[in-house]
């Protein structure tokens, strides 16, 4: 269980996050939604150990985050950032291999290579592995980066649950790959792994998530089971637009129409 207790975060006089209390349980897919600038990425960076100058407490399975050393944390927590460029030539497979860095000292073992190839198969990116990362399209780069963070937490950790953070992983992907990626994420979730991701599309949240969290101006407005808490009123409150929820016969969850 990942617990965030009373998180307050300010930059200068700007309040980015206000008194956030939230638990992310393993075995579930958690989706964070909210308007631009509502503090989603800050929340993810605080929970994952990137931002350190916040007030409050973060617990990973009864260990305080600030007492876990960087190298150990990396063996059971990985993070996919939003797109950033790499100013040097690098092969996709070399980049994916970096996901295994926390697990070996100098030389990757056979197990590491097996995992790298399992991840490449899982994401159907075999045709990209020997390409230069910089020559790939935005969507292809996103899938290669996802392979890297997936390889990092691929095998069970001896002492800890695993946590996978994804900051807008669907960016740059066409609908086919958005669905494929979400299905992949669902298929890797087991009782010891929690996926915490930021998405913009409420319909994906309804279709795939176990828990949703709505942020607005740094406040957690609502959280819980998506089918229960996503209502036209909530969407109006958070995003200031009128929306309808439409039931589809034979489908367990409704769709949102704007």
């Amino acid at each position: 269980m990942l617990k965030l207790q009373n998180i307050n975060y300010t930059i200068g006089s700007n309040h980015i996050l206000n008194s956030i209390n939230v638990n992310f349980a393993p075995g579930e897919l958690h989706m964070i939604l909210g308007p631009n600038g509502s503090g989603k990425t800050s929340l993810l960076k605080i929970a994952s150990g990137q931002i350190e100058n916040f007030n409050g407490l973060v617990w990973y399975d009864d260990m305080a985050l600030n007492e876990i050393n960087t190298a150990t944390l990396a063996t059971f927590r990985s993070y996919l950032s939003q797109q950033n460029n790499i100013p040097f030539p690098i092969k996709a497979i070399e980049l994916i291999q970096m996901g295994r860095y926390p697990h070996y000292e100098y030389q990757a073992t056979k197990k590491d290579y097996d995992i790298i190839h399992a991840v490449i198969d899982q994401l159907a990116i075999t045709h990209l592995k020997n390409r230069d990362f910089n020559t790939l399209s935005g969507g292809e780069q996103q899938r290669v980066q996802f392979a890297r963070v997936l390889a990092q937490v691929w095998e069970k950790s001896k002492n800890n649950n695993r946590y996978l953070f994804l900051d807008e992983p669907l960016n740059n992907l066409d609908i086919q790959y958005q669905k494929y990626l979400l299905q992949t994420i669902r298929s890797i979730i087991s009782e010891d792994i929690a996926v915490i991701m930021i998405v913009h599309d409420i319909n994906w949240a309804l279709a795939f998530s176990d828990k949703v969290y709505f942020l607005q101006n740094g406040n957690l407005i609502a959280n819980g089971n998506p089918i229960e808490i996503i209502t036209p009123e909530l969407i109006q409150e958070v995003f200031k637009i009128d929306a309808k929820l439409i039931s589809i016969p034979g489908q367990k969850y409704p769709i949102v129409s704007f």
């Binding site: 994952s48 150990g49 990137q50 050393n69 960087t70 190298a71 150990t72 944390l73 990396a74 063996t75 927590r77 990985s78 993070y79 950032s81 950033n84 460029n85 790499i86 100013p87 040097f88 030539p89 690098i90 092969k91 070399e94 980049l95 970096m98 996901g99 860095y101 926390p102 100098y106 963070v149 990092q152």
Partner: protein, 346 residues
């Protein structure tokens, strides 16, 4: 065994051996194979050199070639380190002020040597110049690094501009030392400012050799952090790299490398820029391959430059820094053009 993967190491190693032999034999005085072999035999038999050729070989040519080779390897590695740390393919010690800072520090010792208490000199002796050079280089590098970090997004161009300013400060500091220097000191600063291996001796070889061992040992520790940094500082942290600790270590070692080399042979620019660039075309950016290959190619390139410096106007010598800048600056402009257009497209 000659697959594409290790072909670069084999070919560049053969090339390096050929250049070493050529560098030893050719010069103001040419040395034949026979004289070389005899000199080595006499040396191990404990005999005094029997001819002027043997003396030239043992006391002038050999230390020069070895010092040049080691310096080339160290400067190339320094370029790789700095490019990795700054995440910028256009930086190297000569461009962002590390060398200029070292040169300024060293020139202070040259000019003010007369005022330094004799006890100090005997205490730290040959390390006095490297010590001042180290301080100058550290201050210069740290300023550039701190300013580039204080920005939200590090930008290729802004680092170069800050580096340019720091470089100018180092050069003007050195200009001032030259101005207040008495004539023979000033001339030695000037010559050394342009880089030269003409003063190479065995003591310097020994110090640079020890440095090279430290560099090689640290490379093993640096491969993973440098690779992870290709993705960005946040990503490196998520991969379990303690960035703050790593940054301190690599800045310290890199400054030590540049300071020692610069204090012995002067400012030799662009080696740290061109060599990693060439090597990346063959092996990519994985530092496990990039660093060793850069050492071999760096040694070869600097030996070639030194050979040209010695032979072009023989028997007199051209400062080697002039040769490396003459070749390096146009390549730098090409790289600059390529990288700036890349940024504009993004």
């Amino acid at each position: 065994m000659l697959n594409k993967k290790n072909a670069i190491y084999i070919i560049s190693s053969i090339l390096l051996c050929l250049i070493i032999i050529a560098s030893i034999q050719w010069g103001a005085v040419n040395i034949t194979n026979k004289q070389m072999v005899e000199a080595v035999q006499h040396f191990f038999q404990g005999k005094t050199p029997s001819s002027i050729y043997e003396g030239v070989f043992l006391q002038i040519r050999l230390p020069r070639v070895i010092l040049c080779m080691f310096s080339g390897a160290i400067l190339a590695v320094s370029g790789v380190f700095m490019q990795g740390l700054f995440r910028n393919p256009l930086v190297e010690p000569g461009i962002i002020g590390t060398s200029a800072g070292a040169a300024f520090g060293a020139s202070i010792v040259f000019v003010l040597a007369a005022y330094i208490p004799i006890e100090w000199k005997s205490l730290i002796g040959p390390l006095l110049v490297p010590l001042f050079a180290f301080t100058g280089a550290l201050v210069a590098t740290y300023i550039v690094y701190a300013i580039s970090k204080s920005q939200q997004k590090t930008n290729v161009l802004s680092i170069l501009l800050v580096g340019l300013a720091i470089n100018s400060m180092g050069l003007s500091g050195m200009g001032f030392m030259t101005y207040i220097a008495r004539d023979p000191q000033a001339r030695s600063i000037n010559f050394w400012n342009l880089g030269t291996f003409s003063g190479a001796n065995w003591q310097q070889v020994l110090i640079v050799f020890s440095l090279l061992i430290i560099v090689i040992l640290s490379i093993f520790k640096f491969i993973k952090p440098l690779n992870a940094l290709l993705l960005g500082e946040d990503e490196a942290l998520y991969l379990g790299i303690n960035i703050k600790k790593f940054r301190r270590k690599i800045l310290l070692i890199n400054t030590l490398m540049v300071a020692i080399v610069t204090s012995f042979v002067g400012v030799i620019g662009f080696v740290g820029l061109i060599v990693p660039h060439i090597v990346r075309q063959f092996v990519g950016s994985d530092h496990k391959k990039l660093l060793p290959a850069s050492m071999i190619i760096g040694a070869s390139v600097l030996l070639m430059a030194d050979l040209v410096a010695r032979l072009l106007l023989a028997p007199s010598e051209i400062p080697i820094g002039i040769i490396t800048s003459l070749v390096g600056a146009p390549i730098f402009i090409l790289l600059l053009k390529k990288n700036l257009f890349l940024k504009a497209d993004a």
